[in-house]
Symmetry: C2
Subunit: 318 residues, 2 copies
């Protein structure tokens, strides 16, 4: 057993493979809102959370388990649509729903309960090959799949009363877990450490650095910004916004990383440093980068706070 504090726990099961296990809450009012999200997108995103953690270990998913607490007055149609979204994604990656639990979520005084989901996904990797967060070394290049900030920019738009069109809202509602890219990187031994960017680049990079006992220097101009409805998203979304489910990984100096894996662009955004802090290089100026993405138990956290808080880089080290 290893991987505690990583995207997944890794269990030695013999037979040439290690078992990956990940468990993620997906909560109405914290991770999604029922008045914004199509119910099928809630099912899709819920499963994506789990699959993305398997991707971040370089594994392939084998079975999913869903615990779902539902308000007593939820329309049957909502539940059907939730499972339609879940099932479509599950079929894409061949992940059977192997069990779970169903409960009734408590109602508040308005008799409104909230949807609370917990998703467990099991996956496998060949024995001793799971990619951990902890093996980055000074000098390693830092890379990203895809583009960042698309989901959080959309949340900000919804928060301000906007109504993005269905197609424009895809980064928020239909993120794709990067299972092929994660598996490709592991199989070819290209990657030293990996994590998925579910909480925001600055937060997840901080997790990777902490686990590896090192720091990072990031080129602001190199971070691939997603396209929002009005062009590329603002930098704080790309730096701190969550819910993008891209992969953040490191590779030893000299490793040739393809510019595109499984159809997804891959970008080098910086390198790992010996000094244990994160630095953002912007217009040739260096500033300390603090984790600004979603973290639980901040005082009075608003809904999906990573997205609506305009946190620029913080010049104070933590």
């Amino acid at each position: 057993l290893e991987g505690i504090g990583d995207d997944c726990a890794v269990l030695r099961i013999g037979g040439g493979h290690d078992l990956l296990v990940t468990t993620d809450l997906y909560l109405e009012g914290v991770h999604f809102r029922r008045d914004w999200f199509p119910p099928a997108a809630v099912g899709h995103c819920c499963l994506t959370r789990g699959l993305s953690d398997i991707a971040a270990m370089g594994g392939m998913p084998t079975a999913a388990f869903l615990s779902l607490a539902l308000p007593s007055d939820i329309p049957q149609r909502w539940v059907d649509e939730f499972f339609r979204g879940w099932t479509a994604l599950a079929r894409t990656f061949g992940v059977p729903l192997a069990g779970g639990d169903l409960g009734q979520s408590p109602a508040d005084r308005d008799n409104k309960g909230r949807v609370m989901a917990d998703v467990t996904v099991l996956g496998i990797v060949p024995g001793c090959t799971a990619v951990l967060r902890s093996h980055a070394r000074p000098g390693d290049g830092i890379y990203l799949t895809g583009k960042l900030g698309g989901a959080s920019a959309l949340i900000a738009e919804y928060s301000q009363g906007g109504k993005p069109k269905a197609k424009a809202a895809r980064p928020l509602f239909w993120p794709v877990p990067r299972l092929q890219a994660g598996s490709y990187l592991r199989q070819r031994g290209l990657v030293s450490a990996m994590i998925d960017v579910s909480d925001g680049l600055s937060t997840d990079l901080d997790h990777l650095c902490e686990r590896s006992g090192c720091g990072a220097a990031i080129e602001a101009s190199a971070i691939p910004h997603a396209n929002g409805p009005k062009g590329p998203v603002e930098t704080h979304f790309a730096l701190h916004g969550g819910e993008d489910y891209e992969l953040l990984f490191t590779a030893r100096t000299g490793t040739r990383i393809p510019s595109r894996i499984a159809g997804v662009p891959v970008t080098r955004i910086g390198h790992i440093t010996r000094e244990r802090r994160m630095v953002l290089i912007q217009d040739r100026k260096r500033s300390v980068l603090s984790p600004g993405g979603w973290e639980h138990f901040r005082p009075a956290p608003p809904v999906l706070p990573s997205a609506v808080q305009k946190r620029a880089t913080d010049r104070q080290s933590r």
Copy 2:
């Protein structure tokens, strides 16, 4: 992969063993109340729910995962005590906490959030030996470990404003998952089908009968009633009350079942029938026994309804 609809999912993992996976919600206001339960007992019962499902397959637990959504204002002391209760039980059975997730539960208008837990437990059994619910056959004897109704009688007492003493409240707060008994029965091949009694005897026996495609005849006088504060509990608690976490199992005619396994008494309470319904034999009269334990999504379910509803046996078949 088998066991869908059973206590656990069973996954073939090679290496001579099958993997068991169970996921259970444990919700404030549904499964426990913070004003009744010591916080350590909430942690204990939460893990017991998962371990009991592993016991019901004849397996041994190997790792647990906990997703916990907590109100923002919960005292740190409550959380510490929760984990103290969890950890004490986990140590007893050697089950490491291998991962999980932490979130903030949404607050209602009073700014009161509720504790919502989801526990996943992995376990193992030697390949193809997991005890399923579906292999009972007409003629099999029906057996129970321990005594029933203790937990639900205590809930009824609390509901009526009673304040049972700590020692008397043990069946509700500190149930013991029957891992040794379940494992013993599997190892010796004594058992044909098994389920744990978490939702109440009538409900869980109904699940076992449905999965096995048969019925059951139960002798009311044979059901071991737990001792409540005023002597043996009333029969409706033993028949329909949940949260006892005893094992209900069947064995082929002629199998010698010990009267005590791992220190726990074992009682024969009836037999499996060909006719697909449950019958209760009481004072030589036969009546149809309907599931009266806890089931989700009943109209306006009260808190822990299995316990406080005084449902006698129902003469109408479903």
